[in-house]
Amino acid sequence: MKPFEIVEEPIQSQRYVDYVLHAGAGAVTVFTGHVREWTHGVRTLYLAYEAYIPMAEKTLAQIGAEMEEKWPGIKTAIVHRIGELHISDIAVLIAVSSPHRKAAYEANEYAIERIKEIVPIWKKEIWEDGEEWIGAQKKYPGKGKK
């Protein structure tokens, strides 16, 4: 397992928790994003995730570096799954350990916001009567922007 990775198989949470845990960690936060059955009254059958894998892993690692700069002392792992995902499957997992809890919460939430901004991963929702690539329009990002 790599601390910042894209996988095609089900995400095994414990691996990433074990990776961030150490004797100096007093708090661990784990966020998992799951495939939800209903979104705005429309029933999702399944999702298809696609990634530009090398750049996605690079940007995940970049987010990890940003986090460790902002919250010194934390340790982070982030994994995103691609391929066909069904209801309740884990799409993304963020594990953060920290000596104290505040940083573990803040850094974790920062990670998911940044993932949604810069990591080249795309989600297609497949419903009973159609499908669509999801993605909010964002301003053109600055180079090396944090």
């Binding site: 995730y49 750049m55 990591v119 080249p120 991963i121 993605g135 600055g142 180079k143």
Partner: protein, 93 residues
Amino acid sequence: MDRRTEKVSGEREEMNMITVNYFARLRELTGKTKETIERGSMTVQELLDWAEETYPGFGKDTVHVAVNEEYALKEDVIQSGDNCAFIPPVSGG
């Protein structure tokens, strides 16, 4: 033109090659995961203009470009041999 010049010229032509990758909606629109463009250099803006012209509905105003796995600015210059990717709005998480 002697053989040596020809050869150098030939190598130069081989190097006029920018690779572009397509993902998600753009992969489906173009029907391609990647292709090469025979250009020695161009700006990111020129690449986006080329894509819009070549593939109607490309939507260049919402598409970002990565050059060698780094987000690039519109004024950045792409060189022959660079590996580019069109990044439509991301939706991970």
